[in-house]
Symmetry: C2
Subunit: 184 residues, 2 copies
């Protein structure tokens, strides 16, 4: 094992997991819980798929239907925390991000890469959350104009490693990611 006191090794391990999550549908970092705050100020959380993780840009990406309540929440309060638990590594990641909602021609490349069978995730009629009379009283046509990319600038990471002795570190953009051990 590497030096447990090495902050930069821990940060590299975190980005490795994120990169694998974005690339591999079976990696536990593929499906983070995304926490947001609703326009009424209420806590919200739901599963999202991690679609990109770029350390050079300190950026994570998820895709969404523009008609979902989380987009309304993020339009009102553009901060989200990704929560990821990686069982084999005993690692909890809590990643604070500022989110930009990107649509239209800017996200054409991402739309082109969405498999045809998955495009029905963007376009549910009536829009997600609308009351319906029967469990299956909805359609899922693909609607290009409802596709949005959540471009998430990472501001802070709170990393907990549950080992024989726990380790916990905070990494912040404003400290240029040097990191700081904190009591777990």
């Amino acid at each position: 094992m590497s030096d447990p006191n090495d902050l930069s090794a821990l940060l590299s391990e975190v980005w490795q997991h994120l990169g694998r999550g974005a690339a591999d549908g079976r990696h536990p970092a593929r499906y983070p819980t995304l926490a947001t705050v609703s326009p009424a100020g209420m806590p919200e959380a739901r599963t999202v798929a991690l679609r990109a993780a770029r350390r050079s840009q300190n950026r994570l990406e998820a895709h969404t239907d523009i008609s979902t309540p989380k987009v309304a929440s993020l339009a009102h309060h553009p901060w989200a925390q990704f929560h990821i638990w990686i069982p084999r590594a005993d690692l909890q990641l809590r990643i604070t991000t500022r989110v930009e909602i990107v649509t239209g021609t800017e996200v054409q490349a991402q739309w082109d890469a969405v498999p045809a069978a998955s495009r029905v995730s963007y376009g549910t009629a009536p829009v997600p959350g609308t009351p319906i009379d029967h469990v299956y009283a909805y359609d899922k046509p693909p609607v290009r104009d409802r596709f949005a990319v959540l471009s998430c600038d990472v501001h802070e990471m709170d990393v907990v490693h549950l080992g024989a002795q726990h380790r916990r570190a905070l990494f912040r953009a404003e400290d240029d990611w040097t990191g700081q051990w904190v009591a777990p």
Copy 2:
């Protein structure tokens, strides 16, 4: 399979999972993600252990160290959403609760039931989140007075079943839990 349009069967299935999570450390409902809002209005999420799930009271319970930031968040804004993903059932639960922080003699029974080896989760010195000079520069004595129960009154459940055709229902206390199908 039972009638997919049966709302009350779905609600019973949800409580069954919650009960098993509270009883069985290997069930996926054991470790929900708990989303809260910080005093500064920021979204936060972390893993908690589900310690009790009582349908008759519409209540969930988790335990915490009173010195953790989530207690400060809940003291400021007493709402939390539990997020649970149950892989074998393809079920996502989003459970909105109002949280009471209970300490002292009222939680003696819960403290008595905490195994000695687990009591060190309540009492970390310095308090969780404090910067430390070395990765292991902290102690974990058990401190009875830092033990708190988060008593969570369930107000709403948003349940998504990812099947060949997705199903999504909202259950609300104010509707006496009759439930309503909504577009997924």
